[in-house]
């Protein structure tokens, strides 16, 4: 092991490994508990961010760069703007395309509410395949997301009643996000008629020229908003940041991660306090040999840090596997999502590890500082 001595020139690492490995069961319990706690938190954050990123990619795949909605609406689903703005937006230089969409909740079979998206005829999302042919939805026809179908026990071929109007479910809608999997899709004019919202829409999705610079993009956004003071333009990223559903999922993930990090601190702190209490005499002997309180504390801190780091690495793996498994499960519910590991997640893991090791070691270090050399003699 001479190579290891070369690497570990100060001998601290091997001393720490010796100390940890002489209590293998305790170290294993500490590492696994923290790993599972951190892994659970990472899973939640990973799932929420993957779902969000998938929605984001969904917008990108539909070439949606901006969303035009009613200003001063804390819940964007309650936005209502005139459909006539679509034509005005299309005329602006730099805008490649604009599509209106109405979103509303309807009464399904006189029983429960269901979210419905209305898109204009000709929009490819309200079409379906039949015998290799793409057919557009006709009036009185709807597509259904798989989660909505599962929740309401509906299948293609059935007829449903929506706000007292009869509609035929033609096919499943292949949603590319969890938002749309729980939704019904119909023609915009149908939905406007059902909700008595003539020429009214919730959003206008805007597709921009790809060669626009950042500054001309900002300028264009201002130009669109200048059409009418009632209008507000947001990027899809901003929309998702403010969206209550994604914010809730994201917030929940982070709350669980923080809660689990606190739990990890408690675990490592308890275990290290136990260890330090058990090793009071050993640490006192070190003090009697001229180890300063700082050096002994550093030993305890590094032991805690090694345990926390190993736990974080295993926790990261658990988080990754948990995220994949959760997203596979989510997909069985009809919610499509890619699993995306972001740099931010890895940073969270790294920061959490440092925080857990530092705070978790504080109490044991406090106990360590109170150890006096005279204790070495009391046995």
């Amino acid at each position: 092991m001479s190579w290891f001595r070369q690497v570990d020139q100060y001998g601290l690492v091997s001393l720490i490994i010796d100390s940890i490995s002489c209590r293998p069961l305790r170290a294993l319990i500490a590492v696994l508990s923290i790993a599972v706690a951190m892994g659970g938190g990472m899973t939640m954050v990973g799932v929420s961010e993957s779902l969000e990123a998938t929605v984001q990619q969904g917008y990108a795949s539909r070439q949606v760069d901006l969303m035009l909605m009613q200003a001063n609406k804390s819940n964007p689903m309650t936005s209502r703007i005139s459909e006539t703005f679509v034509d005005q937006v299309r005329k602006i230089d730099g805008v490649q395309g604009a599509q209106a969409a109405l979103i509303d909740s309807l009464l399904l079979d006189n029983d429960s509410g269901i979210l419905v998206y209305g898109w204009p005829p000709g929009y490819q999302e309200i079409s379906y395949r039949q015998g290799g042919e793409v057919i557009e939805l006709q009036q009185g026809q709807v597509l259904i997301g798989r989660t909505a179908a599962s929740l309401h026990d509906l299948t293609p071929g059935k007829t449903i009643e929506l706000n007292l109007g009869d509609f035929e479910i033609i096919d499943f809608f292949e949603a590319n996000s969890f938002f749309e999997s729980g939704v019904l899709f119909m023609r915009l004019d149908d939905l406007q008629q059902l909700t008595s919202a003539r020429e009214t829409v919730t959003f206008i999705f805007i597709n921009l020229d790809q060669d626009l610079t950042e500054s001309s993009r900002w300028q264009l956004m201002e130009e669109i908003e200048a059409i009418n003071p009632i209008l507000k333009v947001v990027t899809t990223e901003e929309f998702l940041q403010k969206n209550q559903l994604t914010a809730s999922v994201r917030g929940l993930g982070r709350i669980i991660l923080v809660a689990n990090a606190l739990l990890s601190i408690l675990i490592i702190s308890t275990i290290m306090v136990l260890t330090v209490s058990e090793r009071r005499q050993e640490l006192a002997v070190l003090r009697a040999m001229g180890w300063s309180a700082t050096r002994v504390s550093m030993l305890v801190l590094l032991e805690t840090a090694v345990l926390a780091t190993v736990a974080a690495l295993i926790g990261g793996l658990i988080g990754l596997v948990g995220m994949k498994a959760s997203l596979i499960y989510v997909q069985t519910l009809g919610v499509y999502s890619q699993s995306i590991v972001t740099l931010q997640q890895i940073m969270w893991l790294g920061i959490s590890t440092v925080v857990i090791a530092t705070i978790g070691a504080a109490l044991p270090i406090y106990f360590t500082l109170n150890i006096t050399t005279s204790e070495a003699l009391r046995k």
Partner: protein
């Protein structure tokens, strides 16, 4: 010149138990001294006070002319004092060589150097074949020899030993005493050893007897 000077040292526990009562003595560099006395006579308390592990209730301890109370504890224990415990106080999960290395941690930064120095010391006391044995697996005599190496690893000016043969059989005691005596004569070190074993006292130049916390001869 006196290496160690004790002036009117008293130690009272809980305001009632007088472990040491007005002890004064002086020990010169290179001297080997046996502290004799029955159990409870105050020998260990006196060693603890000299080592700076305990504070006297009154009186002054000076080592190399400096009061112990004003010395920086870490430096004092690294460079001036070596302590040999009756119960060895080894870290059982570590090997013999690692136990000795621990004493060198604060004074020698390079792990390789610490390792080589520790191996050399252990070989000198006949433990060359037990370098990597865990302390827990060593015999009592071997453990005390490791503890001795650890106590002299930094070449202290003053070696304090509290009943070093108290937990050893006769053969192991004899071997340890011979090692200690050889070391003291070759290094001209100063030794104070608390004991009630006459054999231990024989290796020392001078004996001091304590009774009920007082020096009686």
């Amino acid at each position: 010149m006196a290496l160690l000077e004790l002036q009117n040292i008293s130690r009272v526990y809980g305001g009632v138990i007088r472990a040491l009562d007005d002890v004064s003595l002086s020990i010169t560099a290179g001297e080997t001294v046996a502290l004799l006395g029955a159990s409870g006579s105050g020998k260990s308390t006196l060693l603890n006070i000299i080592a700076g592990f305990e504070t006297p209730s009154s009186g002054t301890v000076r080592v190399a002319g400096e009061p112990v109370s004003t010395q920086q504890p870490d430096k004092f224990h690294q460079n001036i004092i070596g302590f040999l415990f009756q119960q060895f106080n080894l870290l059982d999960h570590l090997s013999a060589v690692r136990n000795v290395e621990l004493a060198l941690f604060p004074t020698c930064r390079k792990a390789q150097q610490r390792y080589l120095n520790s191996c050399k010391l252990l070989k000198e006391v006949g433990l060359g074949d037990r370098l990597h044995s865990r302390a827990a697996l060593l015999s009592g005599g071997e453990r005390q020899r490791v503890a001795f190496c650890r106590s002299i690893a930094n070449q202290p000016q003053l070696l304090l030993a509290d009943e070093p043969t108290g937990n050893l059989d006769k053969a192991s005691s004899k071997k340890l005493l011979s090692i200690v005596a050889n070391y003291m004569s070759s290094h001209q070190g100063t030794l104070i050893v608390a004991t009630h074993d006459d054999e231990v006292a024989k290796i020392c130049q001078r004996s001091i007897r304590l009774e009920d916390g007082r020096v009686v001869e």
